[in-house]
């Protein structure tokens, strides 16, 4: 007997989680693609963004202002981190950048604990209401989140495809030296990309906040899942990361029907291991010649 109602519910859950994860992962993959930085602190930027969003929501009462404030604040933090800690590392082994960002992640996580304490912060849902889905009252906010995530990713894609600065970013990703020779201010582009990635992480933190609340330990979980997604989708490949985020989240959601959600995480790990063994360049990219 197949539990159709659960499958439909979990498909929806998987899609919503996958879209949020896709924003996180596309920021991570953009940063890796352009400057070979594996950002271990990405999840912690998300977590800080969620806390800033919760604080701004408390101060202003508007979810949308909170979303914007968090994105801007974390983008500025990203600029600061990139200029002070990561710019000196450009050209060194990517492993060095994992170590440096790992140090940053420790600092950010404990800073959040110091600033906001260990208790869970709630962010109230800006879109009220539920609709009936089998035996559940499914909140509209989750559907809205998936749509907003899609809008953010679509906006990023349009910007990269048609915007003047988007073309700068793509040119720098393709060939750093040539871009410099064409007059593109490469160091500035690096900083800007790190800021964009940070802002996207912060935005997804605020969007995700109403689901489970905000804690200072949520960052590591996102970092790990974003790593998995980025590797499965192919390092530095934006479209692949987005597909992989949805693919992995759906698999996890279906696995949660059979085993407990804590164990369902293992499915993502297994997908990663299999991908790295059989298609190390990523699942959703053409086979390299």
């Amino acid at each position: 007997m197949i539990p159709w109602d659960q499958i439909v519910i979990q498909t929806l859950n998987g899609l919503v989680n996958g879209m949020v994860l896709a924003i996180v992962a596309s920021g991570l993959t953009l940063i890796f693609g352009i400057m070979d930085i594996v950002n271990f602190a990405h999840g912690d930027l998300l977590m800080l963004g969620a806390f800033v969003g919760a604080a701004a929501l408390g101060a202003t009462g508007s979810f949308w202002i909170a979303l914007l404030a968090a994105a801007i604040a974390i983008a500025l933090l990203g600029v600061f981190l990139q200029v002070t800690a990561l710019r000196p590392l450009i050209g060194r082994d990517p492993l060095t950048t994992i170590l440096a960002t790992f140090g940053i992640s420790l600092v950010l996580q404990k800073y959040a604990l110091w600033q906001w304490g260990p208790s869970v912060r709630r962010i109230s849902e800006p879109v009220p209401g539920h609709f009936t889905l089998f035996h559940l009252q499914y909140p509209w906010y989750r559907v809205a989140t998936a749509l907003m995530a899609g809008a953010i990713i679509g906006g990023l894609w349009l910007f990269l495809k048609y915007g003047k600065y988007g073309i700068w970013i793509r040119a720098t990703t393709q060939d750093r030296v040539m871009a410099q020779a064409m007059g593109i201010p490469v160091p500035l582009v690096h900083t800007a990309v790190f800021a964009i990635g940070s802002a996207m992480a912060a935005a997804s933190g605020v969007l995700f906040g109403p689901f489970t609340g905000v804690t200072q330990t949520m960052g590591f979980d996102f970092t790990l899942r974003a790593f998995i997604v980025v590797v499965v989708g192919g390092m530095g490949n934006l479209g692949g990361s987005i597909l992989a985020a949805i693919f992995v989240s759906l698999l996890e959601a279906y696995a949660a029907i059979v085993v407990s959600p804590a164990q369902a995480v293992i499915v993502a790990f297994v997908v990663l291991v299999l991908t790295m063994l059989f298609r190390p360049t990523g699942l959703f990219v053409p086979t390299p010649k």
Partner: protein, 324 residues
């Protein structure tokens, strides 16, 4: 390796062994002169240093950064726990053996899959493997005790025909010191052997090592297994000292600390990780007196600064002499 005139290398080898003897004597005397708190502290530094040294085989000598050493350490703990809970009477040597078997089994698994990958992919896959074992241990409550972990009695120190006595803090310190010294000398010998030279050439230039005709994957697998066994030994010692095994020690935090020890102390020196563990634990002790759990804020900043400005670590300047 640049050529060193023979006349200069001989005294510096003697200097190395003199330094080794002085440190060893200080560590032997330490429990007799230190107050109880610091006595335990030194023993812990030895155990964490042993764990960090095991990781140095990969980070410093083979050029593979492992973010998953907590899996080996944790399985060493749970292996020792299994021996101490099932065997009557509890046996120290079986606890160590079971710890090694547990960590070794995991190491075979990780080595088989992860060594096909390089650089960041290796780092991420070790991290993911350690999380797999964390989730299994955390959720398999019937066997592992889940979140609460396992507690068990401490085994007595038995050497057949010689000693049969309960551990005192002093004798436990000396026991750990003996194990750690043996492990250090063994690993030092291995890294200086032809096998160790191949590992170092993989670190320097993997494609060329392959082109010369070495089976790089096989060497990497043995390196991971060796590293995992030494880490498991550290885990078993830690379990025996503290009389418990808990899932927290399989979590990523431990792996992260291992990497910090290596980077702070100096990779590729084997002694550096001990220095790194000592300075990290001392800083933590000093800072947490007035910063409580926020000690990681200054420590994280120090760590990041070391990565940027002092990539060789605190003992990096001794690297060549320590490998003589």
């Amino acid at each position: 390796m640049t050529t060193v005139p023979a006349a200069r290398s001989a005294p510096s080898v003697a200097g190395y062994w003199a330094g080794f003897a002085i440190v060893l004597v200080l560590l032997v005397v330490a429990p007799l002169v230190l107050p109880p708190f610091w006595r335990r502290f030194v023993t812990e530094i030895l155990i964490w240093g042993l764990l960090a040294m095991s990781s140095d085989i990969l980070i410093g000598y083979t050029g593979m950064v492992s973010f998953g050493h907590s899996a080996f350490f944790g399985l060493g703990m749970y292996g020792a726990a299994a021996a101490l809970l099932t065997m009557k009477p509890p046996s120290l040597w079986l606890a160590l053996l079971y710890g090694l078997v547990g960590a070794g089994a995991v190491a075979v698994f990780v080595a088989y899959f992860a060594t096909r990958l390089r650089d960041i992919y290796f780092a991420i896959s070790t991290l993911v493997f350690s999380q797999i074992f964390y989730v299994i241990i955390f959720t398999w409550t019937d066997v592992t005790g889940g979140e609460n972990g396992l507690t068990f009695p401490q085994p007595p120190l038995t050497i057949t025909g010689l000693i049969e006595a309960r551990f005192t803090p002093e004798s436990f310190h000396w026991f750990v010191l003996a194990v750690v010294t043996t492990a250090y000398l063994l690993v030092r010998r291995i890294t200086r052997s032809p096998f160790g030279m191949v590992l170092q050439s993989i670190r320097e230039n993997e494609p060329r090592t392959r082109a010369v005709g070495y089976h790089v994957e096989r060497y990497k697998m043995v390196a991971v297994m060796l590293s995992g066994l030494v880490a498991g030994l550290a885990g078993a010692l830690y379990a025996i000292q503290n009389k418990f095994a808990a899932p927290d020690f399989v979590f990523f935090t431990v792996s992260g600390e291992v990497v910090i020890f290596n980077v702070m102390g100096g990779m590729g020196t084997l002694v550096g990780p001990f220095a790194g563990a000592a300075s990290f634990l001392l800083l933590r002790e000093g800072l947490s007196r007035f910063l409580t759990e926020y000690y990681l804020i200054p420590l994280g900043i120090i760590f990041t600064l070391i990565v940027i400005f002092l990539p060789q670590g605190l003992l990096g300047f001794l690297r060549r002499r320590l490998n003589q």
